[in-house]
Amino acid sequence: MDKSELDYYMTLLRRGDETAFEIIYEKTKRGLFAFILSYCKNYHTAEDLMQSTYIKLRSSIDSYKPGSNAGAWLFTIAKNLTINEVKKNRREVSSDFSEKENEFGEYNMDENLTSPLLKTMRENLNETELRIVLLYLVSGFKHREIAQMLEKPLGTVLWSYRNAIGKIKKALEAEENEN
């Protein structure tokens, strides 16, 4: 979605237009879910976090400043909620190791719900590289915006992106050769 278009719908939502929320949801759900998935490895936790992000968006829409980067604002909400959840879960893991062992630490995705390409990316990229590639290719952010969102220098983001693309290409070629 175009930045100004998203800002327009955010402003409409701020005025109480519920249909604007549905449009925002439809336009951002794919990128947002992929972004959350890059932080947590469990599908159902990612689903809950996606839900919480949209609830938080609706409840704190008054704090949105029209004219600002709406996408970055929404993804920052998602990032903060996800990081909090990860931290909370780590604390629970240390106290109840047996039940929550695989929640965030190990890859625990339902095979039916995973995309093969995403799986290949997960296996070959580190967390930051995966996040950068997803934010750039799926969510449609620019490298500069990604750098701001992830609080990393632009050079690092560009380098990680190129590195990640190289790794993905290599992995896909290897998979093709195997088949």
Binding site: E18, R30, F33, E47, M50, R58, S59, T114, L137
Partner: protein, 97 residues
């Protein structure tokens, strides 16, 4: 594989696995109470903010008043002898004339 193809494939595959949470989100009442706060917790948080803000303002005002008072005191104590000397010299010159 080119980046454009990779992007297309990734977007398509992600589209297939995105959960639909719209109906769940729309069901949740929006009343400013976030993170599953109970009404009591919400009230306490609001009350705390309401109390803290006037306290901070009062504290800053107190500091300003005390500083202003302290600054004002000093020149007043210094001014006395000067005024006295000034008035004395005035008196002296007027007597001479």
């Amino acid at each position: 594989m080119k980046i454009r193809e990779l992007k297309k494939k990734l977007n398509h595959e992600t589209e297939q696995i995105v959960p639909d949470v719209l109906h769940k989100v729309k069901k949740v009442p929006i009343n400013g109470m976030l993170n599953a706060e109970t009404p009591t917790q919400f009230f306490r948080r609001k009350l705390l903010v309401l109390l803290i803000v006037p306290m901070i303002i009062a504290f800053i005002s107190l500091i300003v008043v005390v500083t202003a008072f302290a600054v004002r005191q000093k020149p007043a104590s210094d001014a006395k002898p000067n005024n006295y000397i000034k008035s004395f010299t005035c008196l002296e010159t007027s007597n001479k004339t």
